[in-house]
């Protein structure tokens, strides 16, 4: 059942159209990420849900109720900001209590709810601290508790992790997901970090130039990118130019090596160029590696990245990267060596623009 619905949302600032015809239905309790580069309009959509911006067109409904004309303070929505935005003049307790206070709740009720929220983020012991006495990660957890305290219908997270250190970023995103599942609250999460989006979302909206390029579950987005933009933005991807040999038999050539695709090529004719995508982790050059397809190439470079070694090889006009898991006995191929990469033909995606 749709809980939060965005239909035909548009937004222009003056002459500049920031969001053009954005559509999305979000289920109750769902965790949806808006993923995209800066300037793609994802934050603008979020701010329209919050009521900070008014859509130039389209409607937003929450639980069946049209939100247009409602001020932010009438919407019962929780929001966590990128730069924490805790009130510096209040301690942790008062920050979390703020939404309840302005709603005119009774003192005992406020106290109980704040305690519950601080328990949820495991910061009961810091209730008396002021924001400037907290670390970034602690501040953001307080901000989350503050947003959740008035029991909002929807939780909005505006790049809440991007101001934090790498380690805290990972632990906090897991905590956010856990709390979200525990409370079953409908959540929209805005981020430009694909790993973040992939790891915690039920669904991801990949946004590009003010519109949704693809909406789908993380695995779907990663494995079956719908557009060239999604393919290049989410994960690392080899884009390979191939020449069609036989459209009926799905036969193409990369360099001068023939490959038969699983996916039907569609309306192309022999001699046309098609773009193919291949994830670096899809293939292997190990002896006896599985796969019905092989490509031989000359190694151009080999980079040690920690858990994997990423090697680039030249096949015709394309350069293809592939990853090998690191192990103490691993011998990366030398530059100039010729290697054979094996993979399953179904891993080769056809990119249609």
């Amino acid at each position: 059942m749709t809980f939060l619905s965005l239909s035909h949302i548009q937004k222009s600032f003056g002459q500049v159209q920031v969001v053009s015809d954005f559509n999305m239905e979000i289920e109750k309790g769902e965790f949806v990420s808006f993923l995209g580069p800066s300037g793609c309009g994802k934050t603008t959509v979020l701010r329209m849900i919050a009521g900070f911006e008014t859509p130039s067109g389209g409607t937003i409904t929450v639980a069946g109720k049209d939100q247009s004309g409602l001020k932010p303070n009438q919407r019962n929505i929780g929001m966590v900001f990128q730069a924490y935005a805790l009130f510096p003049n209040m301690n942790v307790f008062d920050n979390v209590a703020f939404g309840l206070k302005v709603a005119g709740r009774s003192k005992p009720e406020i106290e109980a709810r704040v305690k519950e929220m601080l328990g949820l983020i495991k910061l009961e012991h810091l209730a008396e601290r002021f924001p400037y006495q907290l670390s970034g990660g602690q501040q953001q957890r307080v901000a989350l508790a503050r947003a959740l305290a008035p029991k909002p219908q929807v939780l909005l997270l505006d790049e809440p992790l991007s101001a934090l250190d790498a380690k805290i970023r990972v632990s906090l995103r897991e905590e956010i997901r856990m709390i979200q599942q525990q409370l079953g609250i409908t959540t929209v999460f805005v981020t430009h970090d694909q790993e973040e989006a992939l790891s915690i979302s039920d669904r991801i909206v990949v946004m590009n130039a003010g519109a949704a390029d693809q909406i789908g579950a993380p695995a779907e987005i990663y494995n079956r990118p719908a557009t060239r933009f999604v393919a290049s933005f989410v994960g690392t991807l080899n884009l390979i130019e191939a020449k069609v040999i036989d459209p009926v038999a799905n036969r193409i050539s990369i360099g001068d090596q023939g490959v038969t695709l699983r996916e039907p090529l569609g309306p192309v004719k022999a001699g046309d160029t098609v773009s193919l995508a291949l994830r670096p982790e899809a293939g292997s050059i190990a002896e006896g590696a599985k796969g019905d397809t092989a490509l031989a190439g000359e190694v151009v470079s080999s980079n040690f990245l920690g858990s994997v070694v990423r090697t680039r090889m030249r096949v015709g006009a394309s350069v293809i990267s592939f990853d090998m898991f690191n192990s103490p006995g691993l011998r990366p191929p030398a530059v100039g060596e010729t290697v054979t990469l094996r993979f399953t033909a179904s891993d080769l995606l056809i990119i249609r623009d």
Binding site: G51, P72, A83, A85, F87, F98, V102, R146
Partner: protein, 291 residues
């Protein structure tokens, strides 16, 4: 040889010598003269320690002069804070077009330095008995400031109104950055949590600004308290405020006791120093929040 010189230098660090001209200058022409006054305030004529001078401040016209000085300083600081705050808020929150901000701040930087004799004449020429505004109101509206409002430029309110000319710009200059320090997210966070605009101001913005506001008030107070030239040029000796009385005392020992004069000056230092310390302390608090 070179090495010996080097170790000698290490043993006797000479870098502090570079500060000596400055330190000696400040000692001779700022610290020692002030100390002389402060010490003199606690001495009898023959140099023994006494608290009598401080006690004697409570005699004659001295208490009333302090009282009037404090009242004028409070009034001009309060009004200056209020009006300056409103103007700074108007430009910072863009109730008026954005381009006004920069010239207004520049102008304030200039006008806040404008205490002095010419300022007194400017207000005399405007609000004095035959001043521009006085005549304008009388000729066009039949309003006589002196008769209808009891307003006289040579009085308490006259001096207060004149002081406002440099108090308002000083307030704008100091409070504008504090207003700019109010982050947009605080307003948005308050609003999305259900707060009205009024609740945001009462519970978030004003408490955050409070140290800055109070601190700036203290600074404005000290600023007015120490203003001598404007007061003397405007009112001559007709208004009995501390700087005017001290001026007369320095000129001609009207109190008949030089050490009582020291005590009076000491009282001035104490009041402006307290106000300034308050300002610095509150400012540090405000900056801690705005980190």
């Amino acid at each position: 040889m070179n090495r010996a010189l080097h170790t000698l230098r290490q043993r006797l660090p000479l870098t502090w010598l570079g500060l000596m001209p400055f330190v000696i200058f400040v000692l001779m022409f700022l610290v020692l003269p002030t100390m002389h006054i402060v010490i003199g305030a606690f001495q009898t004529r023959d140099g023994t320690f006494t608290l009598q001078n401080i006690i004697d401040l409570n005699t004659g016209t001295i208490p009333s002069s302090y009282w009037i000085s404090v009242k004028i300083s409070v009034a001009s600081a309060a009004l200056g804070s209020l009006i300056g705050f409103a103007m700074a808020a108007a430009v910072v929150f863009e109730a008026v077009p954005r381009w006004i901000k920069s010239p207004l701040l520049t102008f304030s930087g200039v006008a806040s330095n404008f205490a002095g004799v010419p300022l007194a004449f400017a207000f005399l020429a405007t609000f004095g008995p035959v001043g521009l505004v006085t005549l304008f109101l009388r000729n066009n509206f039949g309003i006589v400031l002196q008769r209808d409002f009891g307003f006289n430029i040579l009085s308490f309110w006259g001096l207060t109104v004149t002081y406002l000319f440099f108090q308002i710009p000083l307030m704008i200059l100091i409070i504008a950055p504090a207003l700019e320090g109010l982050r947009r997210e605080w307003r948005e966070a308050a609003s999305i949590l259900g707060a009205t605009g009024l609740q945001y101001w009462r519970m978030v913005a004003l408490p955050i600004l409070f140290p800055s506001l109070l601190g700036t008030f203290a600074l404005l107070f000290a600023n007015a308290f120490g203003a001598v030239a404007t007061a003397i040029a405007l009112t001559g000796s007709s208004l009995n405020i501390v700087p005017i009385q001290l001026f007369a005392q320095i000129r001609g020992d009207v109190l008949g006791n030089p050490n009582l004069g020291y005590a009076m000056a000491f009282g001035m230092i104490v009041i402006t120093a307290v106000a300034n310390v308050l300002y610095i302390w509150l400012r540090m608090r405000a900056e801690r929040w705005l980190k």
